[in-house]
Assembly symmetry: C2
Homo-oligomer: 441 residues x 2
Amino acid sequence: MNDVSMINSTSSSGASGGASEQAVALDQTMRTMGKAARAAAAELATQSTQAKNTALQAMADALLEQRNELLAANAEDMAAARERALESALVDRLELTDSRIDGMVNGLLQVAQLSDPVGEISDLKYQPSGIQVGKMRVPLGVIGMIYESRPNVTMEAASLCLKSGNAVILRGGSEAIASNRAIARCITSGLEAAGLPLATVQLVSTIDRAAVGLMLGMSDYIDVIVPRGGKGLIERVSTEATVPVIKHLDGVCHVYIDSHADCEKAISIAVNAKTQRYGTCNTMETLLVASELAAELLPEIGAQLSAAGVELRGCPATQAILPDCELAVDADWATEYLAPILSIRIVESVDQAIEHINCYGSRHTDSIVTEYLPNAQRFLRAVDSSSVMVNVSTRFADGFEYGLGAEIGISTDKLHARGPVGLEGLTSQKYIVLGEGQVRK
Amino acid sequence: MNDVSMINSTSSSGASGGASEQAVALDQTMRTMGKAARAAAAELATQSTQAKNTALQAMADALLEQRNELLAANAEDMAAARERALESALVDRLELTDSRIDGMVNGLLQVAQLSDPVGEISDLKYQPSGIQVGKMRVPLGVIGMIYESRPNVTMEAASLCLKSGNAVILRGGSEAIASNRAIARCITSGLEAAGLPLATVQLVSTIDRAAVGLMLGMSDYIDVIVPRGGKGLIERVSTEATVPVIKHLDGVCHVYIDSHADCEKAISIAVNAKTQRYGTCNTMETLLVASELAAELLPEIGAQLSAAGVELRGCPATQAILPDCELAVDADWATEYLAPILSIRIVESVDQAIEHINCYGSRHTDSIVTEYLPNAQRFLRAVDSSSVMVNVSTRFADGFEYGLGAEIGISTDKLHARGPVGLEGLTSQKYIVLGEGQVRK
């Protein structure tokens, strides 16, 4: 953990010279971190599962021992946030409480219990030449994590990268800097206890925003960037990065109630997918209903959603059934509300539903409610999203619910990992070939 | 296949106006192709294995029926190449012979016999909530293939993309334009015979090099670019592309003869890895030898390589054993000779060999010769290359030898596919979730 040296080098350059001198110093600091991360990654790639688990356990112990220091550091950040009058949702995410610290501890113990993906050999098969060809799972190398406000992301990201054999450079929000430094000290003591390289986890502790820009271009030292935060952050990272990015920008998720739906399941899934939480990326934003069932189902669904305070915006056919519903305009179909608002469209067939989703959706998570197998199969195959579901609320799109143990992010891209990204998504597979002296003829 | 319309639109714009008007027309043409490819990809994603195999078989039939037309078109390209005095290696790759046409036909039949990766469901497991979570293999979407001279790549790329459910935009070299158009006509007739969308395979038939630049930035329409050709082409594509690229730039491959090597295997692997072909990316460029065996093995290996006409460049310790050997300079260790030249270094341990490979290599293919299991395990785990081998010639790094059936290219990148990229590398996996009405609590 280069935490202390970072603070020194950036503050001294700030004191001594002009803006360009400072930029040179920052560039130098980031490259030094990058080189250290590369070296740590090479060492970490062959470390035993036991050493990694020892470090995770020791980090958990350190969090418990330093609980008061963590709370005190967080109180500093909270005071500064209130002084700067940051918005309340952000301040809420920033807060570390006893139960959030316990959550970090439990998270570490859970990651320690996950099976180690690194070194796993699969599909080892003999070929006609007599060679055996298979695949071995290996770490990606160095992860660059760029995130905002929630200090517990620091520990989540560190633990997942460590367990998957990757070094990580963490760049949290400036509003959480004191909390992140305090957590980083716990991480360092865990790495020390296990005899692992301290540069396995490095925190960029300057608040200079230029550090983010440098990370996005450090393809010599960073193999993949994972951004977590608001849309502004993700957009900046996607646009500027020359390093590959694992990300999702939007969650415009759909539930399609098929003409062959079980009505009870349809109502509870639609209501749950919208109302269980409004601000999450796997919340339903558009409900599609087969015309055969619309008149039967929409009054009940509309009543339950209205009772929960959800504003409804529908196509003209929906308005004919729900007269209080606003008219949805074209932009509604492509909007992630992240709020108690829902757009509703009546469609003629499963194919029209699929077409709507592939056109307006964000390739995140979409679910069909149906008892009719051919429509379920068609939907599963044709919807081009990272998670496609049958008879389940979209809210289940989540690393814990999928049995990944934890997630570092969700990907809506098509290359490499799609959907919740856990330990496996932080690795790739190389080929291994075993022989007995074979040569090519 | 939009072949004919392409030719018309680009030639008419060339006749009517200035350079910028031509650029606008080309941009328009490429976008039209991109949109058509997207639509074809959406349709193709759910096509049956049978329809795809019917098309492959019909393409093979068309190649046989149109053998004379193919040879005549190729003769045009060959005449033009000789007139422009293109280098002989390029002219050789350009030539279509009866046996190369038979090779294309056999390639098509082999791809038809490969199992269809699309729709394959794996790891479907129940989670504590009662939902079943698994993965489904799906096409990437639209592939952009940019390649040089060898016209048979046109058919190889088309068949692999089709079988993996992807649409493809092909941009071959201008020197092969007549041959590529003739092959494209066979592809079209195959797609027609199977009732598949003709825009599944589109050939960019303008020779305007600006078309390549446009493809590299068409991230709305192209999901991944696969370049095949010389280093200049790959470098241009890597530097300019904003679309993700599957590629390898260099093949600086190593054989390490461990102190526990079987001497007979070591000699035959070292000689084969260098001399079986000089110009391929999986040819050995540096031989590393454990100091314990150097005096015993190097004279015999040196003699065999010299007899084959290979120039040797060694470290000082190597020169002490092989006095006729040139001194290797630092640049040698990082050079892909693609020629009868080999650099040789004597190392003290398996760890020094691994360090050398990870420092100077190109993450392509590296092999250890050893009978000692711990060193084999250490080498397999620690060498960060797309193919890592034990007791096998590096020349085996190849899609056919690996049982992939065929390869569209080799990747030395870490995200997504590493090593030879076959049908599976042209797909990714989305999550699928099956339930019985579950909602999130």
